[in-house]
């Protein structure tokens, strides 16, 4: 269950569930709107979530 929470739950919360709040943020960097900054950073963070799943849970599964 923890595996699904880390690998799938966290990205879903970040991209869908909290979108209404991310949408309200007025912070910008070089005038790039926060909504875009948020999405771009989750490219990396989503990979990390899956990487954690792989390293902690899936790496030693029998491979067939």
């Amino acid at each position: 269950m923890l595996r699904v929470l880390i690998g799938l739950g966290i990205p879903f919360i970040a991209i869908v569930a909290v979108l209404p709040w991310v949408n309200e943020a007025t912070f910008t960097l070089f005038n790039i709107p926060f909504l875009y900054l948020w999405m771009f950073s989750w490219f990396l963070l989503t990979s990390i979530c899956m990487g954690v799943c792989w390293l902690c849970f899936d790496r030693h599964r029998p491979d067939y």
């Binding site: 269950m1 595996r3 699904v4 690998g7 799938l8 990205p11 879903f12 991209i15 869908v16 979108l19 209404p20 949408n23 910008t28 070089f30 005038n31 790039i32 709107p33 909504l35 875009y36 999405m39 771009f40 989750w42 490219f43 990396l44 989503t46 990979s47 979530c49 899956m50 990487g51 799943c53 792989w54 899936d58 599964r61 029998p62 491979d63 067939y64």
Partner: protein
């Protein structure tokens, strides 16, 4: 100069397609359509991203931001990104089902799972016909994008000839080497497309400054979502993320992998590949700030490339964008062929499937070309429509993975009702309070699947997730 570079790169792709065949001179159906399940992570990765980031990405995505404003890009980024974690958990199971049932197509999964069930054939046909129907707009999407990409080369050739040329190339790839051709050509395509996007984005940046680009685009480019936009964005992201690997060619590409672990290992790197999107956003905003009145918004990216880049580099951009479209056409063709010969007709002997499939593919390409020329529209609209259909496979897919009492007729009924309603709602513009139409219909689909299965009786089939699991903890735990 652009034309010469373009021609050399396309010729190179043909060489790669021929080289892909080397050492695999087999004529078996499985080798032709799914490479005999031999690909390692590297080739599966390129084959997958090769067909995920299509001409809709390089042409359609900036075009939609240009046409509809900054907020519109968000759902596009979100759904592709979230498709990967969904895939990390679901795709190994799809692969396992493919192995268990010796599948070539997505419909083979349902056929194999319910082979002792009276309703199995009905479900197989439902999935087959739905898949084929919604692959037609996906082909139209590629042809539409190809016309724009090739248009950047400034040839004075009618679109009809351009798309026929494109279809001939795509057909040539697969006739030579089956699915091995798109896998190898994908490596070239992805290098070119990445270079094209980064260089065009970089050129836009060098003209002005990052902060000026976003400022100059002004209110047009506001990325604040209004309440209706927010509902659309959130429901569309969730809906299309789960539908992503229900696209029949994406499913089929998974079957080329060697093992479940191959798929997991490759999946976790997929989001990193999205690094090209910031550059596409920059190009779209640059166009909004400098040339806010293009007559065809789909042309926003190519117009920027034409303004900003030297001729030879424009050839690279056009080749990258075109190969992206061609690869997906090859992928769709390789999906449609066996769907018709194996699933729709049902009784074609294996040795004839390949040649018959090629005839089917030609007919499909001709039909898609006709549609493209008769009904041009904003590319992303077509894309959304196709997802209405494909995502409806997801509940059925979950059912064969986890639901012991799943009934094939209930799954089929869910798919049919949801598809018909989605198209009807879309055509008649039924208000859904800005929630994604397909997502609303997906809920109806799930209700029919579960309700119907529980009412239908007690015949049980061992779910895929529980099969061969002696040494593996149940997936999804």
């Amino acid at each position: 100069m652009a034309t010469i570079v373009f021609a050399i790169l396309i010729a190179l792709s043909l060489v790669l397609a021929v080289a892909a065949k080397k050492g695999h001179a087999t004529t078996s159906v499985r080798d032709f359509f799914i490479a005999s399940r031999q690909f390692g992570g590297f080739l599966v990765f390129f084959l997958s991203v090769g067909e995920i980031y299509s001409v809709a990405t390089i042409i359609g995505f900036p075009g939609s931001i240009y046409a509809k404003g900054g907020a519109f890009g968000i759902w596009f980024l979100g759904y592709i990104l979230l498709a990967y974690p969904v895939a990390y958990f679901v795709n190994p199971l799809i692969w396992r089902a493919g192995k268990l049932y010796d599948a070539v197509t997505i419909a083979d999964l349902f056929k194999g799972h319910f082979k002792n069930h009276a309703g199995g054939r009905v479900l197989e046909l439902t999935v087959t016909i739905t898949a084929i129907t919604f692959l037609v707009p996906w082909g139209e999407l590629q042809f539409g994008g190809l016309i724009v990409a090739l248009g950047g080369l400034g040839w004075h050739i009618s679109p009809a000839i351009l798309v026929t040329f494109a279809a001939a190339l795509a057909f040539f790839y697969i006739v030579i080497s089956g699915i091995r051709a798109p896998a190898y050509v994908a490596i070239l395509k992805d290098v070119l497309m990445m270079v094209a996007i980064v260089v065009t984005g970089g050129a836009a940046l060098s003209q002005t400054h990052l902060s000026t680009i976003f400022h100059a685009a002004g209110p047009l480019a506001s990325s604040h979502l209004t309440a209706p936009e927010l509902r659309f964005t959130m429901s569309t992201i969730a809906f299309q993320a789960i539908g992503f690997f229900m696209l029949p060619f994406n499913t089929q590409n998974l079957f080329t992998a060697k093992s479940e672990q191959t798929i997991r290992r490759m999946q976790m790197f997929m989001p990193l590949y999205m690094v090209m999107f910031p550059f596409l956003v920059i190009v779209a905003y640059y166009q909004l700030g400098t040339h806010a009145h293009l007559s065809a918004p789909n042309g926003a990216f190519m117009a920027a490339a034409v303004q900003l880049l030297p001729g030879w580099m424009l050839g690279v951009v056009a080749a990258g964008a075109s190969l992206a479209g061609l690869l997906v056409l090859a992928g769709i063709s390789l999906a449609i062929g066996p769907l018709v010969t194996r699933n729709l007709f049902g009784h074609v002997p294996e040795r004839k499937q390949r040649s018959l499939a090629q005839i089917v593919i030609l007919l499909y390409l001709a039909f898609s070309i006709t549609l493209t020329l008769l009904a041009p529209t904003l590319l992303v609209t077509i894309q959304n429509t196709a997802f209405f259909g494909f995502t409806q496979f997801f509940p059925g897919m979950m059912a064969i993975m986890f639901f012991r009492r799943a009934n094939p007729l209930a799954i089929a009924a869910g798919i049919i009702v949801a598809d018909v309603l989605a198209v009807a709602f879309f055509v008649m513009k039924v208000p859904t309070h800005d929630f994604n139409i397909g997502a609303v219909c997906l809920l109806i689909n799930v209700a029919i699947l579960i309700g119907g299965s529980l009412l239908a009786g007690h015949q049980q089939v061992m779910p895929v997730a529980l099969r061969r699991t002696a040494a593996v903890p149940a997936a999804g735990d």
